[in-house]
């Protein structure tokens, strides 16, 4: 094929894999950079450059091969990405947005300045100033690393002044900030897509359920009042308009006891809170992201089923991956299983996910839960 275009993805894990599966039907080639030989994306037709994600040479090679570049993870060297972008291959989201989001403190400041509701936050240079902040925040807060936090790593709850020293010890050498602890009734997320021209589209909001700080379940659409839904959607829309560059962005939010929606954080990419869009929405987050970053128009975000529940298949042991119980897991006809092709399996490693749909969330949740019980990996 003449003029066949190539999508380059930094990272070839499950997100890169599902992006690849969405890009191929549109006629794209896909190349990924990933350090693990036989990474999940490479198993589904992506060419792989085996290299560390911080390897400037590998990223330049990726840019040479690709017409459009994107990422599946934001923990990258944005300066290298800027250099790569300078060579002419468009990167979306832009290195500027990636840089902003990498620094969680800068991200919070940016959102706050733009009038987006966030929990009160403050820089904490040392244990002494952290104590003052704890007092100002009413005696309960989180200490977080500015960089590199992921799936709950990089967060500590501070309930008393005595906890502060432990946090500074654990996060020694890292830049930290504090956030007031806001009791929340649930967590919500909204996926927003931005195309090349800046047009935006929000998916219906979902509820995310976390355990051990890992997203384990997603309920779509989120069970919520009209007022909460409107708050969350309006925030999603505002945030999407603020960000630079194209792509899908996930905005994670808290619903406080007082009924207020606060932004927790943004992921500048497809996200675990959107896996159920493959079955539940007219356009999956993966196809949407590919469309957005390659200059194609966005697809409809309409739900095509009344309700869907996604459950992550997290590893429960350490060892060689072996999928068992797939037939039993699929015994309800409204259930799908996605296996990521990772080995070994590890405790809490994201090995796959299940999506079940139904007439109600209760029905979908029951189906998804039953499927998870049948499956081992």
């Amino acid at each position: 094929m003449n003029g066949q275009q190539t999508i380059g993805i930094v990272g070839g894990g499950q997100l890169g894999r599902m992006l690849t599966l969405a890009a191929l039907p549109l006629g794209f080639k896909v190349v990924v950079v990933d350090p693990s030989p036989g990474c999940p994306a490479s198993q589904v037709g992506a060419e792989q450059i085996i290299a560390n994600l911080y390897d400037a040479k590998a990223l330049k090679k990726l840019a040479e091969k690709a017409d459009y570049l994107t990422i599946e993870i934001e923990h990258l060297d944005a300066n290298i990405l800027e250099q790569v972008a300078a060579s002419g291959t468009p990167i979306n989201p832009t290195p500027k947005t990636i840089k902003l989001i990498q620094d969680k403190f800068a991200q919070k400041r940016f959102l706050h300045k733009a009038g987006i509701p966030v929990a009160p936050f403050a820089e904490v240079a040392d244990a002494e100033s952290a104590k003052a902040v704890l007092e100002a925040f009413g005696g309960k807060m989180l200490i977080k690393t500015k960089y590199g936090a992921y799936d709950g790593r990089g967060n500590m709850v501070i309930k008393k002044a005595g906890d502060i020293a432990a946090a500074f010890k654990t996060f020694k050498g890292q830049q930290l900030y504090a956030e007031q602890y806001i009791p929340f009734v649930k967590e919500l997320a909204v996926l927003v897509a931005r195309d090349f021209r800046g047009a935006t589209l929000e998916y219906p909001i979902v509820e995310t359920i976390h355990e051990r700080n890992i997203c384990v379940k997603v309920l779509a659409p989120a069970p919520s009042s009209e007022s909460v839904r409107k708050q969350a959607e309006s925030i999603g829309n505002k945030v999407a308009k603020l960000l630079d560059g194209a792509g899908v962005f996930a905005i994670e939010m808290f619903l406080t006891k007082a009924g207020q929606v606060l932004v927790n954080e943004i992921a500048p990419r497809v996200h675990n809170s959107g896996h159920q869009t493959i079955e539940a929405n007219r356009t999956s987050q993966f196809e949407q992201h590919i469309r957005a970053i390659s200059g194609l128009p966005l697809g409809s975000v309409d739900l095509v089923v009344p309700a869907a529940v996604m459950i992550n298949i997290l590893g429960r042991r350490n060892g060689t991956t072996e999928v068992k119980g797939l037939a039993k897991a699929l015994s309800n006809p409204h259930t799908n299983v996605h296996i990521y092709g990772k080995s070994p399996t590890k405790v809490d490693r994201k090995m796959g996910h299940i999506t079940a749909t139904g007439k109600t969330l209760t029905e979908a949740r029951r189906r998804a839960t039953q499927a998870r019980q049948q499956l081992s990996i």
Copy 2:
């Protein structure tokens, strides 16, 4: 991954490609046999054995690699497939079913014996007996080759005794039969799936529109009366139960002026009349086929949109493939484009397809038609 299972597909064209894209998320590996290096399936993650589909050695190699075997085309050597099956790797549909369907005359006889309505048909050994048959059929009939007919090749309309000689000349050396010409108002198709245990499930019936004997458009669900729908579904169900082996089968039918549904032919595989199931149904025909042939339970066949229209992207010139106008083709957000990765493009070669969905068939059809007009390949 330990115990990872492999699907082997005889043929790696667009059907093999879409089967591959459906098999990978379930955690399967895919291997195909196809004579064209870089075949469509190999571009989306299938390992390819480059060989002719009639190459016994290649098919045996495929069987050694695969846990489950299937086909994307029925024009194969069923005897080789029987030998391969004897080695222990399950082939679905079974070689017995493939054999039956390869011989269109035997297929008709089989259906007729089982009480499935078909147009009157008769063997024609020579031009002389064909004349008698033409008279018996009221002066208009089709002469068809028993074997190898595909996309209209192998069919000739006989309107007068003088046409018979030409047909026998064109099909010299081939076994022929005749079918009474039945004027029809539309063509319908129903996809049916059979699992390992023989349980069956029918997709909602669709209308297929042919030009130059090639399926060019599919309307889902078929605009039809309740009575026609019931006839077609009941036929689909009966045929599925008659056939041997698992998989998706497509049953193509005529609706006569008199309101009767007649079976035209069966395809023992995923089919062009089911491409829109990717977007329009809870489980695509491709995932359904993979589930069926690998012993997994069938997924729901429910429509998830009110209406969908599929239009084939047929080549309009001969030359190197070059996709143009993709962004314009996708400008309506309820439109999808699937490119098969074939080159060169040829007049009437199936290069891809478009599916548009809508609140009504009229809306979906308008969207699909507009998208096709924007795209060149």
